[in-house]
Subunit: 384 residues, 2 copies
C-alpha cells in the first residue's frame, strides 16, 4: 500500500466527516484508511459511520485539497508518516478509549511549514488565554512565549487575538519556534488581523489543523481544536481567562489528557484573571509566575530537575471500553503478541496496536520480549 | 483561690519571662499560677525555669501593670476567665505538645476594649501581609476587611503599616469588629503612625498582647506574636507578601496550627505578591479572590452556606451535538437549504431535517423563503 494512496485516502476522510467523528475513526482503525475511504464513498458502512459521513461522502476533493495545501507550502501528515506525533497523540487515543469527549486523535494533520511535527512536539508547552486580554495578560503571554522559546521550548497556541497572538509573537521575537493550531484550514488566515502572524509562523514553526483547506472556523471547531493544543504540549499555561473563556475548555482537556495544567495569577480585581483563579482555587492548575516555574512544572524526569508533585494527581482513571478488554488480554506472566491480544480481547488489531503504547504510558502494560504483559501498576485500577 | 490572686500571679508571670517560655508554661500548668509565681519569686524552680526567669524574677510589677492597663481601658484576661479563648488557643497547646515552635498558649492576655475575647474569636479570620504593600494590595486588604466585617466576621491582624492597617480600617469602615494583636504592650502605640487606628479599634473590638504594658516591640516579638494572629482566626488570608515577608511566618504558623491558609493572587510582575504565589504554587495556601471565597474556605459546616455557583459551572467540553453544527451552518443573512446545511455541517441530511424544527422551537433558527437562517437568539451562543 503506497503512502500516496494512504495520504489521498486520509485527505478524503479528513473532509468527509466533521471531527470529532469517533465512529469513523474506529472504522478507519479497523479497515485501514484506503479501504475505509472506499467503503465510505460507496456508502457501505455501519449506520454509526453512515450518520457521520452521508452528508459529504459524495464530495471527494482529496486531490484538490492536497494540491491546495501544497500551494501554501504545506502538506498532509498522516499517522503512517514518521513525523506523526505518535507520543503526544497517544493521550488522545487513551482518552477516547475512556470515553472522554476530548479524546480521539485526528485522522490526519494538515500542516504548513517545513519542520518535523513529531520533533517539534517533543518539547512543547501550550500557552493560551482570552482574546479579550488585559495589557497585563498580553505582557505576561509575550514574556512567557519569549522565555520558553529562549529555553528551546516550542510554544503551542491557537493564533487567536489576545493571549494566543502574544504568546506566538513572544516566541518569534526570541527567534524561537511556535506551533499554531487552527480551527480552520491552514490556508485560511483566521483571524484576518493575524494573517501576517500566521504567514510568519511556518518559517521556522508550524501551522497545523485537522480541518482540510478552505474550511472556515466555527464555534464547535474551536472547542474541538483545543484538545489538539492540549495534546501537543507537555502542559498548558492559562495566562488569562474569564470565567467562561474558551481557554477553560483547553484547560479541561489538558487535565483530562493527563498533561500538566498551569495558571498565571493576576490581580483579583481583574475579570480577565477570574478563570485562572478558579483553576488555582480548585487545585486543577498549578500556579506559575515565571518561565522557570513553567519549565519546572512540565519537566520530564531526567530532563528537568523537578518533577511536579501534583502531576501524579492528574493521572487518568481506570481504562474503559476497548482499553479494558485489551488490558484484560495482556499476559500475566509472559507477554502476548498484539495478534493474540486482538483475538483474546475481540478488539480490532489496529485498535490494539494504538492502545498498547497508551496503556504503557498509563503504567498498565509493559513490553517484554514475547510481546506485552500487564505491568504491576495494574493494582491502581482497583475494581476497574 | 480568688480570681484576683490568680490575675495578680499571672500578671507577674507574664512579665517575668520572655515568651515563648515553654519551661515556665509547663511549670505553671503543674503548680498552678499562684504557687508557681511564689516559687519563681523565691527562685525555687527547676533549672530550665530558672534560666527563663532569673533575670526578671525580682521585678514584681504586677499590681502596677494591672493599674496601668486599666488606665487605658484594658484588663488582663487569664485562662481561668470565662472569656479566655480556650478553643482557639487549644491549637497552640496541641502544637506545643508536638514540639512545634509556633505552639504554646500565652500565660495571660493583656486586652484593651470591652468586648468578650472568646466571643470575638468565635468567628474570626486573620488578614495579614507586607508592610511594604502595593496600592493593589492595600486596596484588596481594605476590601476584604470591609467585606468580612459586613459578613459579621471579626478581622484579626497585626496593626502594622501596609496590609494590616488596611484590613483593620476596612473592618472599621464597615462598622465591624477587628482585633489587633500587638508585639508590644497594649498601651504602646506602635507603629506611631497607627496611634489613631490603635485607639479606635477597642471602641468595638480589641487590642491584645501577651506582653505586659510598656513593653516595646522587638523583631523576635513580632514573630512570637504571629502565632496568636494565626490562632485567633479560623484561617489566615495573606494579601501580599514578599518572598521574605513576616507574613510568611504567620502563614507557616497558620498551617502548623491546622488553620486554613489562604493567599490572594496578584500580578506576577509585582514582587509584593511573590510570597503569595509561592504559597499557592506549593499548595500550602488556597487561592482566594473574594470575601465570599474566604468565607467558603473558612466556613464551619452548617454555619455558612457555601456559595457554589462556580462548582456547578463545569467547563464545557466540545459540543458534540449535531444541533450545534447544524446551527453553525445556518445562513447568517439569507437562508440555506437543508441539503446545503447537511454538507456544511457534515451532519446527515435526515438528522438535519429532524433538528431544524427543534432549533426553530428553541429560537435558534428561523424559516425564510430561501431555507433556514439563524435567528437573533444566536447571541446566546457567545463567540468561541
Amino acid at each position: 500500500m503506497s503512502l500516496d494512496r494512504v495520504r489521498l485516502a486520509r485527505a478524503y476522510l479528513s473532509r468527509v466527516a466533521e471531527p470529532p467523528a469517533p465512529a469513523l475513526a474506529a472504522f478507519v482503525a479497523e479497515e485501514g484508511p484506503v479501504r475505509a475511504a472506499e467503503l465510505v464513498k460507496a456508502g457501505k458502512v455501519p449506520s454509526s459511520v453512515e450518520g457521520q459521513t452521508s452528508a459529504r461522502r459524495a464530495e471527494d476533493r482529496a486531490a484538490d485539497d492536497l494540491r491546495r495545501v501544497a500551494e501554501v507550502g504545506g502538506r498532509l501528515v498522516v499517522p503512517e508518516d514518521d513525523e506523526w506525533p505518535e507520543w503526544p497523540f497517544n493521550a488522545l487515543v487513551l482518552a477516547a478509549a475512556q470515553g472522554l469527549r476530548c479524546g480521539l486523535a485526528p485522522l490526519a494533520l494538515w500542516v504548513r511549514g517545513k519542520a518535523n511535527v513529531a520533533e517539534l512536539a517533543e518539547r512543547a508547552v501550550a500557552v493560551v488565554g482570552s482574546r479579550a486580554a488585559s495589557g497585563y495578560g498580553q505582557h505576561v503571554a509575550a514574556e512567557f512565549g519569549h522565555g520558553l522559546a529562549e529555553a528551546g521550548i516550542v510554544v503551542v497556541s491557537g493564533a487567536a487575538y489576545g493571549i494566543d497572538g502574544c504568546a506566538h509573537r513572544g516566541a518569534l521575537s526570541a527567534g524561537g519556534v511556535t506551533i499554531a493550531v487552527l480551527a480552520c484550514g491552514v490556508d485560511v488566515a483566521y483571524p484576518a488581523g493575524h494573517a501576517g502572524l500566521i504567514a510568519r509562523i511556518p518559517e521556522r514553526g508550524l501551522v497545523v489543523s485537522e480541518y482540510p483547506p478552505t474550511h472556515t472556523p466555527a464555534r464547535h471547531r474551536f472547542l474541538t481544536r483545543n484538545r489538539l493544543i492540549a495534546a501537543l504540549g507537555d502542559g498548558t499555561v492559562v495566562v488569562e481567562a474569564g470565567r467562561r473563556s474558551g481557554a477553560k475548555n483547553t484547560a479541561a482537556s489538558t487535565s483530562a489528557l493527563g498533561r500538566v495544567l498551569m495558571a498565571v495569577p493576576g490581580p483579583v480585581t481583574s475579570v480577565s484573571s477570574t478563570g485562572c483563579h478558579d483553576l488555582l482555587r480548585s487545585g486543577e492548575a498549578i500556579a506559575v509566575s515565571t518561565v522557570a516555574e513553567v519549565i519546572e512544572s512540565t519537566g520530564r524526569l531526567g530532563v528537568d530537575l523537578v518533577e511536579s508533585t501534583r502531576r501524579s494527581e492528574t493521572t487518568v482513571g481506570p481504562p474503559q471500553g476497548d482499553a479494558v478488554r485489551v488490558h484484560e488480554a495482556l499476559g500475566l506472566v509472559g507477554g502476548n503478541s498484539a495478534d493474540v491480544i486482538a483475538v483474546e480481547s475481540g478488539v480490532a488489531l489496529s485498535t490494539v496496536r494504538a492502545l498498547l503504547p497508551a496503556l504503557e504510558m498509563a503504567g498498565l502494560a509493559e513490553r517484554v520480549d514475547s510481546g506485552w504483559k500487564r505491568s504491576h501498576a495494574q493494582d491502581r485500577c482497583g475494581d476497574a
